[in-house]
């Protein structure tokens, strides 16, 4: 029963997130004074082409069609949702005409997924492991030093870290490439994989490092408090070994709130990953959003941004759903 309630509430949140997020994407352009259609028309006119009135009208019409600006607001709204949720068709990208937006997104997606998944999961695992050691033996010098380091790293914004890494590892010590370059035509081989890792190392490191601070600090506090619990004392009385107490008794309990925290922070982590991608020129969805913004590629922008809202919502749902797997109090009545 508990599990069902849990599942239900998470699903409702999921639906709401997508609804509100996509609505925001829909509404923002419509509250602005300039219309993208007019902007487009102005661009075309600036190119010096002379067009007859009828041509101008038909161009405007097709543009409005493409931008989903035809019909009443309600019709536009439902039409937009249909596009986002059902067809995934945002039309062609203007900067990469005539490649459809969906294709560009599909190309960029695996890169972003790879980077985001590995970095956030690795950061979470590593941070929690360090936090566990620090919290289990909180009186030691090492523990206090670790917490101090984590406190220094935690407030640093993603882009600063990215910039610092870029300065250090591409200028000062030229270990890594300045911008992302992979010969996409290379066949899938160890060489290609090495290339990918080499080029992705700095962005991944940047995301992991910034994430680490928070997980270390919070896990340290959690482990320290769980270590005071009665069942840990009883485990000691039974003669259970310290390593086993640390993992099976303390860690397994302290990690539960960390899973919930991960789900909550995914939006923030995504924000950071986005900036990191842009700064490193990483060929993921982030850079796609950025270039679409710079080039006022309206279709591509709408497509990538709607997509990222859905992606973050889905990732959050998945993380949320792993929680019952680890907490039997939610799984069973």
């Amino acid at each position: 029963m508990r599990f069902l309630t849990f599942l239900l509430s998470r699903l409702v949140t999921y639906i709401l997130v997508i609804w509100i997020g996509v609505t925001m994407v829909f509404l923002v352009p419509r509250f602005l004074p300039s219309s993208p259609v007019e902007a487009m028309m102005a661009k075309v006119a600036a190119q010096g082409q002379y067009m007859e009135a009828a041509q101008i009208e038909s161009l405007r019409n097709s543009l409005m069609e493409t931008f989903g600006l035809k019909g009443s607001l309600f019709q536009q709204y439902t039409g937009f949702f249909k596009r986002v949720l059902l067809t995934g068709d945002f039309g062609p990208s203007f900067s990469a005409f005539p490649t459809p937006v969906s294709q560009l997104v599909a190309q960029a997606l695996p890169w972003s997924l790879g980077l985001l998944l590995t970095s956030s999961v690795l950061g979470w695992l590593l941070g929690n492991a360090i936090g566990l050691f620090a919290g289990y033996r909180k009186e030691t010098l090492a523990s206090k030093a670790l917490e101090f380091l984590a406190m220094l790293i935690y407030p640093i914004p993603y882009y600063i870290f990215a910039l610092v890494l870029i300065i250090l590892f591409t200028y000062v010590w030229q270990i890594f490439p300045f911008s992302f370059y992979i010969d996409a035509n290379k066949p899938l081989s160890v060489g290609l994989i090495k290339d990918i890792v080499y080029n992705s190392a700095l962005p991944a490191l940047s995301i992991i490092a910034v994430n680490l601070g928070w997980w270390v600090i919070s896990m340290k506090a959690l482990s320290a408090s769980v270590a005071e619990e009665d069942f840990v004392h009883f485990a000691r009385l039974k003669g259970v070994s310290e390593p086993r107490i640390m993992t099976h008794y303390v860690a397994r309990n302290a990690l539960l709130p960390q899973i919930t925290m991960l789900a909550i922070r995914l939006g923030t982590i995504f924000n950071g990953a986005l900036i990191t991608e842009i700064l490193f020129g990483f060929p993921g969805v982030g850079t796609l959003i950025y270039s679409s913004a710079l080039q006022a590629d309206y279709n591509l922008m709408l497509g990538t941004i709607s997509f990222s809202v859905i992606a973050v919502a889905t990732a959050t749902l998945i993380v949320d759903l792993t929680y019952p797997l680890l907490d039997p109090r939610i799984r069973y009545r």
Binding site: A235, K238, G239, P328
Partner: protein, 326 residues
């Protein structure tokens, strides 16, 4: 048999040394149920922690020792103390802690928490043998074997306490220390636990040491009873003797404060409060509250003496023993 020799154990806190157990000596015999009674803060919980050799900072064993003597089937004796006793946890001596509600790991199955306790033991060839031993034991105790597959939150409070008793005894230890086993349980469940412990002891013929501030528990279960006050042992005798003819004034007042069926006289509490263990007064700790205090009581701390056979008391009123010393 366990011999506690002149044990002094204190908590070293920032405020100072809290002398929780101050030079206590006693013997715990084989095949007996010994109750340790006293008010909160008298040192009884600390004493059994010391007996168990579970001494973690800020607690420290300042002086004295605890010695366990076992006799094998061939008649040989072996003496264990300190580290040896710690090695024998759960097999020779085990501990039932206070507070059954929170003593089990909420995210691990009950079964795994049984198996947990046997990490170092080599008496079992493999997990299957161990598991069958556990299930067999549960059946002996009339507990459902399904309990092993359950999680702690799925068990009722009473069932949880019984499971914890089973957990502490499935390796058939010779000595079981129980710290307030019935506190915070409702009376029906209390009765069940008391019965369970009594049957267990009778069957195994082992030693059960029960710490409780509830005199009723001692009366039902214990054969001998030790009364502690402010870190000191003040009286030790068979339960009947304690109840019918208590010697120490504190014991007297303690027994007098208990309700009895048929006795309609008003119950008397004991005025005043126990002394601080940070800086205990010289002399007898109970003197400030004692209705029969004498001059000698403020000056010197009375040692426990065997006033009657098997009846020890630490009080200046009984300075000359009728028999030899303890």
């Amino acid at each position: 048999m366990i011999r506690i020799q002149d044990v002094k154990a204190s908590y070293f806190t920032p405020a100072g040394e809290v002398q929780a157990v101050d030079r206590v000596s006693m013997s715990i015999l084989d095949n007996e149920v010994l109750g340790i009674a006293g008010e909160s803060g008298c040192g009884k919980s600390t004493l059994i922690k010391v007996i168990y050799q579970f001494i973690e900072p800020p607690l420290r064993l300042v002086s004295g020792r605890v010695e366990a003597t076992t006799r094998t089937e061939t008649g040989e004796t072996a003496v264990m103390d300190g580290a040896a006793l710690r090695k024998a946890w759960w097999q020779y001596i085990s501990y039932i802690p206070q507070g059954s509600m929170s003593v089990l790991n909420p995210v691990a199955k009950v079964g795994s928490q049984f198996l947990d306790a046997v990490g170092k033991s080599t008496a079992f060839k493999n997990r299957e043998e161990l598991y069958s031993r556990v299930t067999g034991y549960l059946r002996e105790l009339d507990l459902p074997v399904d309990v092993l597959k359950a999680y702690p939150h799925q068990l009722s409070g009473g069932m949880r306490q019984r499971v914890i008793v089973a957990l502490a005894t499935f390796l058939h230890p010779k000595v079981i220390l129980a710290d307030e086993p019935t506190t915070a349980l409702d009376v029906v469940v209390q009765r069940g636990i008391i019965t369970m412990l009594a049957q267990l002891q009778r069957r195994e013929q082992n030693t059960l040491v029960i710490v409780s501030h509830d005199m009723g528990v001692h009366y039902q279960l214990a054969r001998r009873m030790a009364i502690m006050y402010a870190g000191k042992l003040v009286e030790l005798a068979e339960v009947g003797a304690i109840v019918e003819s208590p010697l120490h004034p504190y014991t007297n007042l303690l027994i007098g404060s208990l309700p009895r069926i048929g006795d309609h006289a008003r119950r008397q509490g004991i005025g005043g409060a126990p002394p601080s263990l940070l800086n205990p007064p010289p002399g007898c700790r109970f003197a400030p509250r004692c209705p029969r205090a004498m001059a000698a009581c403020q000056a010197a701390d009375p040692p426990p003496l065997e006033y009657r056979p098997g009846h020890f008391v630490a009080c200046h009123l009984y300075g000359e023993p009728r028999t030899g010393g303890a």
